[in-house]
């Protein structure tokens, strides 16, 4: 036998042996052990300090407490999660319980009615009053498709009060007071507002949506949908003009348009900017990483030198102190599960647990989300567990800034909000005027409406 022949025969043999050994799946038959098997699609950021704990504290605990249920969990994050969800929806073979958004990235789950309405389950168990009413309102498809973790506010103004104090300023009470700080701070090499606007969604979600609410009112989306107002009207042009003014006056540096999301947190924490604009979810990234024991802002400093607020009084606003927000992500149940089956009961037991007092308290302590379940006594948890000051300040922030107005990419279709996102960047670059952008958005809106 020549060497080559030997290699060929060996390769073939190896192929057959390895294929036969490894080619089978890893399926286990739960029904044989009398357990109900639930498939779960979970969304988890493995780089998040508490992710390993979450598996132990949340998922393992559920299985310990519910020995009659076997969970087959698939953990994914970011784009892979969304791609998998789309494949599941297209095939009509959904996992029994899955993590989802109230609209936006989970639109296909809503429009295809791939998940059950959870309101009848809440009503049957008498749990409706346990949840913040805003969180269990009908979602994209007109029913409660997912039971949310809470409400996410997409605009948060992080304030470095130490920088302000050292430069003779107080916490600003109006937009104009903030604007007046630009020159004196710039003279000392300090930016007024740090923001990362390279990704187009950041400006729209973390600042512009709040501004639109202030000028358009709480019901701007309803009025727009019913044709009572247009994007070319004053409320929207004024909102765009405010962003234009922020760039022109140097409140926001035009260089922020080349800054990737999240990259300014360090410079803000170290005092190179007086304010930082992001969503409420970013508070966790300033807190202590339990694996290294280090924090971008130490707990002492969080207490003494930093505040969480919204941009105060805008000139000509129609509502005050409002913030933009959207119902948070949560858990849905596949519509394929037969009604009244043991699987349905098991799936509901899991969802109740995931949005129940225990898990929501745990998620509050890690900073992952702010509870939708009213049984969680936030103040008590903060005090008893000695949580980092940002968690307590976050609780106060939610109470202080109401009403909550819609987030643009939470209510508008991507055909429309993508034009807004691009327009905001063009304003930032000084390429287009607010009126031009408003007219382009109106065109996109008209065209989208025509196709409905």
């Amino acid at each position: 036998m020549t060497g080559l022949k030997k290699i060929s025969v060996l390769a073939l043999a190896l192929l057959m042996v390895v294929t036969s050994v490894f080619a089978q799946g890893t399926r286990e038959d739960a029904s044989a052990s009398g357990k109900v098997e639930l498939t779960v699609l979970n969304y988890i950021d493995m780089s998040e300090p508490n992710s390993a704990n979450e598996i132990k504290m949340v998922w393992d605990k559920f299985e310990e407490e519910n020995p009659d249920i076997k969970l087959v969990r698939e953990d994914l994050f970011n784009e892979p999660f969304h791609q998998k969800t789309e494949a599941y929806v297209a095939s009509g073979q959904l996992p029994d319980v899955l993590y989802m958004w109230p609209s936006g990235r989970s639109t296909s789950l809503h429009t295809t009615h791939s998940v059950k309405d959870l309101m009848p389950f809440l009503e049957k168990d008498g749990l409706v009053d346990d949840y913040n009413p805003a969180t269990i309102a009908p979602q994209f498809a007109g029913y409660l498709a997912e039971l949310p973790n809470g409400i996410t506010t997409t605009h948060m103004l992080y304030v470095n009060a130490k920088v302000l104090r050292e430069n003779g300023f107080d916490i600003p009470k109006s937009y104009d007071e903030m604007k007046a700080m630009v020159k004196p701070l710039k003279a000392k090499g300090i930016d007024l507002i740090a923001m990362d606007n390279m990704d187009a969604w950041v400006m729209q979600s973390c600042l512009f949506s709040m501004v639109v609410g202030r000028y358009g009112g709480v019901d701007w989306y309803d009025q727009l949908s019913s044709g009572k107002i247009d994007f070319t009207d004053d409320w929207f042009v004024k909102s765009l003009a405010l962003i234009d003014d922020m760039y022109r006056s140097g409140m926001i540096n035009r260089n922020s348009l080349s800054s990737p999301y999240g990259s300014s947190r360090g410079s803000f924490a170290s005092g190179k900017a007086a304010f930082y604009i992001d969503g409420d979810w970013s508070t966790a990234s300033f807190q202590t990483d339990i694996t290294t024991g280090k924090a971008l802002i130490s707990p002492e400093s969080q207490q003494k030198d930093f505040e969480l607020m919204v941009i105060p009084n805008l000139p000509g606003e129609v509502i005050k102190n409002s913030n933009s927000g959207v119902v948070g992500t949560g858990w849905g149940m596949s519509a394929n599960i037969p009604a009244g089956s043991a699987k349905e009961a098991a799936a509901w037991r899991l969802i109740k647990y995931l949005q129940g007092e225990y898990v929501q308290t745990y998620r509050l302590t890690t900073g992952a989300s702010f509870p939708s379940n009213l049984k969680v006594d936030v103040e008590k948890v903060v005090e008893e567990r000695n949580l980092e000051p940002f968690i307590a300040k976050r609780a106060a922030y939610y109470a202080a800034y109401t009403p909550i107005t819609p987030v643009i990419d939470g209510v508008l279709h991507s055909d429309v909000y993508n034009v807004i996102n691009t327009g905001l960047q063009e304003i930032g670059l000084g390429d287009k005027s607010p009126t031009q952008v408003a007219s382009e958005v109106q065109k996109a809106w008209d065209s989208w409406k025509k196709n409905q």
């Binding site: 390895v18 780089s47 994050f77 970011n78 360090g266 290294t292």
Partner: protein, 283 residues
């Protein structure tokens, strides 16, 4: 005369200097991102936020430990080796057998069958993802290694068949005919004549299949749900994203994903260069 020589020598030196400058520039452009990634994988997120370009003040090894454990990398690496190994061997065998038949044993149906394989080169993964997911589910191979291997081999074969057929066509047909006259079977001719002569393009196909399968992420993500069946790129993706909160662990996970490919290139550098050159010229 001397002046002319001096001018030539100075010009040669300038040319050499410019060549080196360009090469150094591109080397730095290629290597710096890797060095940056490696350096930042040893920083805490806090330090990364405050010091993005500098050397770590404290070299944090816990990023690697956490990424390794949380990402379940040992099983993912084993799976990647299994998928890549089996796909590469199977692609080479099946593609070259088909290529031999298309190139040296033609019949009326050859151009249609060959075309039906090669058209696969034009298909994007995105376009076949959902139908493939449905078919794999339908035949009961969802969440199994076989359900991953069959599409992987099927996707790698069009390129293998295309390169293999073109290369084997250039091998003199007289060799095959002589062997047939001497009584050799087609299998014997394939093993004794075609395989040794087509080895250079075999290396090219192997390289393309190894890198393609090793880095493949979309199909494995769709076709499996169990962590025990997924591969390295899926593990890395669990740490990577615009909203990711811990850059240190994200970079450590990316480094873990990168190291096997770097080793592959390091050990097979010469073969890869030869194979790609041979495949490019004769394929």
């Amino acid at each position: 005369m001397r002046d002319v020589k001096d001018t030539r020598s100075t010009r040669a030196k300038i040319n050499l200097g410019l060549t080196y400058a360009v090469m150094i520039f591109f080397t730095v452009m290629a290597i710096y991102p890797l060095l940056w990634l490696a350096m930042n994988s040893f920083k805490t997120t806090t330090e990364f936020q405050l010091n993005k370009l500098g050397i770590p003040r404290d070299w944090v090894l816990v990023n690697y430990k956490d990424a390794w454990v949380r990402g379940k990398f040992p099983i993912l690496i084993l799976n990647s080796i299994i998928y890549t190994g089996i796909t590469t061997v199977a692609t080479l065998i099946f593609s070259f057998m088909a290529g031999f038949a298309f190139a040296k044993i033609p019949n009326k149906a050859t151009k249609y069958i060959h075309g039906s394989f090669v058209i696969g080169l034009l298909l994007t993964l995105q376009s076949i993802m959902v139908p493939l997911f449905l078919i794999i589910n339908w035949v009961g191979l969802y969440n199994s290694r076989l359900g991953v291997l069959i599409p992987y081999i099927g996707i790698a074969m069009p390129m293998g068949i295309y390169l293999g057929t073109e290369y084997i066509k250039a091998i003199p047909t007289a060799l095959v005919e002589s062997a047939r006259i001497d009584g050799a079977t087609y299998m014997k001719i394939f093993i004794s004549i075609i395989v040794p002569m087509a080895a250079p393009v075999g290396v090219t196909v192997a390289i393309l299949t190894v890198t393609g399968t090793w880095n493949e992420f979309m199909l494995i993500n769709i076709l499996t749900s169990s962590d025990a069946l997924k591969s390295l790129p899926v593990g890395v993706q669990k740490f990577a994203g615009a909203l990711s909160s811990d850059f240190g662990k994200q970079f450590a996970a990316l480094m873990i994903g990168l190291i096997p490919m770097l080793l592959f290139y390091m050990f097979f550098r010469k073969e890869i260069t030869k194979g790609v050159a041979a495949g490019a010229v004769k394929g």
